[in-house]
Amino acid sequence: MSGDKILGVDRLTMRFGGIVAVQDLSFAAERKKITALIGPNGAGKTTVFNCITGFYKPSGGAIRLTHDDGKVIALERLNDFRIAKQAKVARTFQNIRLFPGMTALENLMVAQHNALMRASGFTFLGLIGAPGYRDAEKRAIDLATDWLKRVNLLDRADDAAGNFAYGDQRRLEIARAMCTEPALLCLDEPAAGLNARESAALSELLLSIRNELGTSILLIEHDMSVVMEISDHIVVMDHGVKIAEGSPREIRDDPKVIAAYLGTDEEEAVAVMESGS
């Protein structure tokens, strides 16, 4: 794989007691590209995500993130909140994790916590109402407003996030992750539970994030229409190991991938493909 890679996963292994969830997994994600991680249920995709975003400590292997300025960060050595804060990796969750009792705008303001903390002089300047903080807060609100506009939720800015429809919550969670101004955005099944129209809107949103902002995206997804449409590169996992890697076209025709999804062995899959075409 050529090009400028932002994320390099090298021989990543994750064991839970005797169970090996991920074994010797290596792949790379290119800068300003959308990389998809797919595989049947239980393949270990979310485990890989949790290792990258620091929610799990990997049992072995290395995860390297390279920033635009060439700085390399070893993610497997950082704590979860430092990965978001210093390595600038943002994530969303398979089961949406918004702050339901806070408004959409507040959700996006919490995402800018670290920048606002610095601006508020770690609370002390903010407490006495220093003008510097007021400007910073105004900028934060502007950024949040901008994102609410992008995800088409501006008119609901002051509504509690818990009151939003499912699809709106998904989009708000992506907006919240983007408000941390990440270098790498990790999305765990962003299209789960969306209807066809919402999926199409999601694809458009992700493409605009890549094209306009140049943010690299790593996503787990089951919705193949979304994956095939927007991905630049696809990594396929099954039972904790990588079984294929390539462009959407290559993956679509790979008998190993089809076998994994159908739960059969390779010859049968080839037979199914040939009879189908």
Binding site: R91, R97, P100, M109, V110, H113, Y133
Partner: protein, 439 residues
């Protein structure tokens, strides 16, 4: 349509189910009361155990439970499902929102005028000072429990640290109240951080138990460290607060003599009243400001979803510690005030009862709501005094009143949450969406 019709038409009374429930309740009452009431034991004249039975009383109690269950069941069927809100007609609700808007300023103005209105009534002034002390404690604990969602059952520990800090610094070194007050706050905050470190990994029930233990540890240390704290005898003759150096007493350089007015002991009470009012309002002001700062939003986000907080790069450890420290600091201020007001403190003032009372104020008021906490403190402390004439039944009536309030408003008097920032219009967020936090 079925839903609508079941709401409008009265459901037919289900007699067999009613009788069955009443019978089961009566059976439970029989089992309980037959031992507690039915058999009475006492030491006889020669020290032997004598007992006698009281089946008549048991029978009447069981009959009361049976009848009571039927009456309750019938009431429930007549009124329909108690979706509390439904019982309130819209006219009353709009009236309540009108009251709600002007309640806080009206209360504040009234509070400021209390010493003017009740100048001759020492009892009311003392009660008002007590209520304000609990308002301040409630507001302080509200930061930890209401905003950050960390259940703290040992809040009285910080109250004690503040009180003893002032008492010991003032009696040993003769430092003035105004020097000791910030020190008491800082020391309490320090203990808050100290408690925070080991318990940060704990959540929910486990956190509650450890904070409960911490509260007891502080009390036991105070009792047993006799050389420093005087043990169970407490610390006495704690200096009274001065008006920025001018004593409030009968002497020649007292405030009354300097102003050329006649000395009255009420002056000090009034001064104490305004002192605790100022301290409480400071707590309130700081809390309201903190809520609008990133740290306050992070506290509330922590209460809503800790995992999401970490995914957004928020250091949950320091965020929790600041919540603990801020709450503890206000507890320390209140403690210093308590010490200077009483002039004498002992470990007896800092029992678990106090922690429970302050927590009850926060929960009853509606977690996170400043006005709710103030109203709850008024209801809990003032209401308790109202029932004084009932003597023995005071606790019973008070307990029933609390149960009724919690049935009527399960999320506290003011359960909804006000957003900290808005684009077009701030609208209250329903309590159904706001999380209570889980540690």
């Amino acid at each position: 349509m079925t839903v609508l019709s079941s709401n409008t038409a009265k459901p037919a009374t289900d007699i067999p189910a009613l009788l069955k429930t009443a019978f089961v309740n009566a059976l439970i009452a029989l089992v309980l009361f037959s031992l507690m009431v039915g058999v009475r034991t006492e030491a006889g004249s020669d020290g032997q155990l004598t007992y006698w039975t009281r089946f008549g009383e048991v029978a009447s109690l069981v009959a009361a439970v049976f009848g009571g269950s039927i009456v309750l069941g019938l009431l429930r069927q007549w009124i329909g499902p108690t979706g509390a809100e439904k019982l309130v007609p819209p006219a009353v609700r709009s009236g309540m929102s009108f009251v709600g808007r002007y309640l806080a300023p009206a209360l504040l103005i009234f509070t400021v005028l209390v010493p003017v209105i009740f100048y001759d009534q020492r009892y009311i002034l003392d009660l008002a000072i007590l209520v304000l002390t609990y308002v301040m404690l409630g507001w302080g604990l509200n930061v930890v429990v209401g905003l950050a969602g960390l259940l703290d059952l040992g809040y009285v520990a910080f109250y004690a640290v503040g009180a003893y800090s002032y008492a010991l610094l003032a009696t040993n070194f003769g430092w003035s109240f105004w020097v000791c007050l910030p020190l008491a706050g800082i020391l309490a905050a320090f203990w808050g951080v100290l408690l925070g470190f080991p318990v940060l990994r704990l959540r929910g029930d486990y956190l509650a138990i450890v904070t409960l233990a911490f509260g007891e540890i502080i009390r036991l240390v105070i009792i047993n460290w006799q050389s420093l704290t005087g043990g169970p005898n407490g610390v006495s003759s704690i200096p009274r607060p001065s008006f920025f150096g001018i004593p409030l007493d009968n002497s020649d350089n007292g405030l009354a003599a300097r102003l050329g007015i006649e000395y009255s002991p009420t002056h000090r009470i009034v001064f104490l009243f305004y002192l605790i009012l100022a301290l409480a309002l400071l707590t309130n002001w700081v809390t309201i400001r903190l809520r609008r700062l990133p740290i306050g939003r992070a506290w509330e986000a922590l209460r809503e979803d800790e995992v999401a907080c970490r995914a957004l790069g928020i250091n949950t450890t320091t965020t929790k510690l600041t919540a603990f420290a801020t709450g503890a600091m206000f507890g320390g201020f209140a403690g210093a005030f308590f010490a200077t007001r009483q002039g004498f403190i002992s470990p007896e003032s800092f029992t678990f009862q106090e922690s429970a009372l302050v927590l009850a104020i926060v929960v009853l008021g509606g977690m996170g709501s400043q006005l709710g906490v103030a109203l709850a403190a008024l209801a809990m402390i003032g209401g308790f005094e109202l029932f004084r004439s009932l003597e023995t039944y005071r606790m019973l009536v008070f307990g029933m009143a609390m149960v009724l309030i919690m049935i009527w408003r399960p999320r506290g008097l003011i359960g909804h949450r006000a957003p900290t920032v808005y684009l077009t219009k701030a609208q209250a967020i329903s309590s159904d969406l706001v999380k209570e936090g889980h540690g």
